[in-house]
Symmetry: C2
Amino acid sequence: MQFISEQRLDDGIYERNFTLGEIPGILWTPASASAPTPLILLGHPGGLHKMYPRLVARARHSVAEGFAAATIELPGSGERPHSAAAEQARADLRRALQAGQPVDDDIVDRLILPLVEQAVPEWRATLDALLALPEIGGPVGYAGGVIAIGIRLAVVEPRISAALLFAGSFVPRSMFEEARQVTIPLQVLLQWDDEGNDRQLALDLFDALGSKEKALHANMGGHTGVPASEADEGSRFFARHLK
Amino acid sequence: MQFISEQRLDDGIYERNFTLGEIPGILWTPASASAPTPLILLGHPGGLHKMYPRLVARARHSVAEGFAAATIELPGSGERPHSAAAEQARADLRRALQAGQPVDDDIVDRLILPLVEQAVPEWRATLDALLALPEIGGPVGYAGGVIAIGIRLAVVEPRISAALLFAGSFVPRSMFEEARQVTIPLQVLLQWDDEGNDRQLALDLFDALGSKEKALHANMGGHTGVPASEADEGSRFFARHLK
C-alpha cells in the first residue's frame, strides 16, 4: 500500500489517497486518535471520482463516530482497465431497462459474478494492508453496495464483524444460497419506491440471509434518496457491533 | 378526567392513574419539566394490567426523551365490560389459528372493525382531556398497536403529527383504502419471523400507506422480540417529528 497524497479536511479528518498495486483507494482517519480505531469499509457501485462527494460524506460520518473509513475502486470502474465482457453486460442491462423488459438472469450473472470474484480478494488484500497500519485496529464493518460483494465478504472474510448493506442492486440467483451462510449482524437498506430495483427480489434476499440478527430498513425517496436519519442509524448499528 | 392515584417512580417520573368516564388510563410525565411537554399516546393490544410492565418501560423511554406518555384501556379488555360479539370473534380466531387454518376476513372484520369504531373516539376524548392539562402541550404522536386503530387515528385526528405503528396484528381489508389517506410521517415495525402474523399482508399494508415519509423496520426475534435498539430509534423518530 502506497500513500500518494494526504490532506487534512476542514473538520479534523485526514484523507489519504493510496494505491494497492493497481487499485486506487482512499483512507479517512481521525486527525487525532489515541488508540487504533475500528474500521468501516465503504462499498459503492464503482467510479471513485464520481462517487467521491457521497463517499466523503459517509466517511465524515464514520470518523465523527470514532471509526476509520476506507474505500477502493471496483475492478473495471473509474480509471481501472475496463473489461469488454462487463461493458457488454452493462450495455445489455441498459437496453433491457430502457425497453422496460425484465432483466435476464444471464445478464445479471455476467455483470455481477465476475465482479464479485475479482473485487472480494481485492477488498481482502486492502484489509490486510489497512490492518497493518498502527492507527487502524479491529473490528471491521462493511457498509454499502454492491450487495453481492457484501454478502460474499461476509461469508468468506472472518475479520468482518457486521455489515450494512444496500439492497439496491441486481443479485445473481446463485447468491441466495450464499446469503443463507451469512451469520454476522446485518442492517439492510431498501428504497421502497426505487423503480429500477426489484423490490420482491430484495425482500426475498433479506429473508434468505442467515443472520439471526438482521434488520431491514425500508424508506421512501427513490434510488439515491436514503433519508439522512439512516446515516445516524448506520453509525449506531456499527457502534453496537464494532465497539 | 379524574386522577385516582399518583406515584413518583424511581427515576423522576410521575405516574398517575386516571379514569375518563368508565375508561381507565395511565399518564406518565417528567417529575420536573419547565415547559409543557409533547405527548406520545401508547397503543397496545388490550389488558392494561397484563401490559403494564411493557407499557411502563416504553413510558420511561419516552419521558427520558422529554415526552409525556399516556395510555388507556381498550374497549372490551381488562376490567372494562366485555362484548359477547368480540369474545365470539376472538374464539373463532383462536380456533382458526390452532387448526392452522387461514383466518377468514369475516373474523378479522368482526374482531377489529368494532374495536376501531369504539376505541378511536375514546382516544380522541382522552386527547382532549390530556391537552387541557397545563403540563402537556403538543405536538402529539401515537405509538404501538393495534395498527388499525393507529391508521384510523392518523386519518381522522389532525392533532396527531407522527405515528410509530406495530404491524403485528390483523387488519381488515377495508382499512387498506383508509391507509392510503394517511399523510403523517410513519415508522412501521414488523417482526419478520412472527409466525402468527401475515408478513405479506403487513408488507402490502406498508405499501398502501399514503405518507410520503414512511419507514419500515423489520427485525428478527418473534412477535414480542422487538430489539431494544428500536426503542431508541422510535424516540429519535418522534424527536425529529414532534420537537
